[in-house]
Subunit: 276 residues, 2 copies
């Protein structure tokens, strides 16, 4: 059974969720609502001085939960793979400057490469970043993506695969980010969550909902309660596995992005208490 | 390594692939092209006398590979579940009248039910049809669907689950239909194909391709070679697992349905020889 949620201290919202707002506005509104955490997407930092943003978030009493995102390691040629590694090292530096303890990795999948090759390149790419992550004190979290993204966004599509990879890299600086949107359908989800927690790899928990029907494969995620995901049950498993971090609301939605963001934030708060 | 394909004797096309054509036209064109098999969708039989269609297909020397489709067992109330079972019994009778040895099952998922409950209802639903299938001499093939359909079309989303269910029902009249579109991403695909073959459950093999990007979650499948699925490699596994049946082209595509179907059929033939 999941813990009762009665306030927003354990709620974290991703800047992409309220994409129409600049990070300064999102942060001010999250803070005013008593929300405990913020996960920052790199595009939200465009044109900003990162230490200034860090200070702003600290003043607002918002915990920086993660920086989104690194990854996209596989590529057809070696030069592109090296550029991907360099971009991940930069993401680690940005996370460090921002005070984010975690960089979430959308691992990538190279069209023209087999899934097996892409997976090998992902492992090699992460391995090439681990020392830098350690020096910066920033964890790298492998986020398995829904199988509908296997062709172009991630060749890591189940929690079992993410667990395998995190365990094989064997570093306290490599972990796993679990998003209910990507993994809710998996019949092995509960045992793999337990395995992930047992091995100390459960580093982030993302929530939203899966709508039937989904109109856009990228940007039609639902608010908690609008779809068919057993979010509360999964949160119970995550807590049973020892996770004590934030419940992160990450919603890409052309629908919600077109609406008034202040009203959307109220909907998120209500949905969080009633359907998470 | 997959066998070389040098003619169309082992090719089967689903009537839905050339949906704009009535079954009489599809059958005549498939036959003229030397294509060996046809899988018949129930909507293609609307308004027809099934024995007449059977005779027509026989005259054209087309093997009827399967009837599509039964399934959709889970439902909120018992009455709906009973109606689903009755519809599946009817599908078995139709398959028998048509001379189809197989009914493909899209198993269903009830919004408002957990996946675990839906899976239980699927198992119960199939079990309720097995005696009738045996009497009719028609196999029921569980087709695992892509996880993106877990919310509303099938709670069976991996070959492992289909294998588990087929094995637990323990009947020579229950088997599995494998579609590369639904399963290509699965890291366990190869061993699960071997398990499926070993247990005598590999009853059908469907091909098409996964396009990056996919514009419609239902009706934007690609022609073989247009996407990222390792079709030939998977066919090699299927053959290694002992499968000697047809390679069935099943493409739902708003794009291709709008085109000239004669030209589309030529494209299918070329893609079959070069990219399957």
């Amino acid at each position: 059974m999941a813990k009762e949620l009665s306030d927003f201290s354990q709620l974290c919202i991703h800047t992409i969720t309220t994409k129409p707002w600049p990070i300064e506005k999102s942060a001010a509104e999250f803070s005013k609502a008593g929300i405990g955490g913020i996960s920052v997407w790199r595009d939200a930092l465009n044109g900003r001085n990162i230490p200034t943003v860090k200070k702003m978030l600290g003043t607002l009493n918002l915990r920086v939960v993660s920086l989104c995102r690194g990854g996209f390691f596989p590529a057809i040629d070696k030069k592109q793979r090296q550029l991907a590694i360099e971009d991940n090292l930069k993401a680690i530096d940005e996370a460090s400057a921002l005070g984010a303890p975690l960089v979430v990795l959308v691992c990538g999948a190279a069209p023209g490469k087999s899934l097996a090759e892409s997976r090998k390149q992902i492992g090699d790419g992460i391995a090439a970043c681990v020392d830098h992550a350690k020096q910066a004190g920033v964890k790298l979290a492998i986020e398995p993506l829904h199988p509908m993204y296997a062709g172009d966004r991630s060749a890591i599509n189940t929690l079992a695969q993410a667990n395998d990879m995190a365990e094989s890299l064997h570093s306290p600086w490599v972990a796993v980010a679990l998003d209910v949107y990507h993994l809710w359908w998996d019949p092995q989800l509960e045992p793999e969550i337990m395995r992930c927690g047992k091995n100390g790899n459960l580093a982030a928990f993302h929530i939203c909902d899966w709508k039937t029907s989904t109109l856009d494969m990228l940007n039609d995620r639902g608010l908690m309660g609008e779809g068919c995901i057993n979010i509360k049950e999964i949160r119970g498993w995550v807590e049973k596995a020892g996770f004590k971090g934030f419940n992160e609301v990450e919603i890409f939605s052309n629908n919600y992005w077109q609406q008034d963001q202040q009203e959307f934030l109220e909907k998120i708060k209500t949905a969080y208490l009633n359907h998470s």
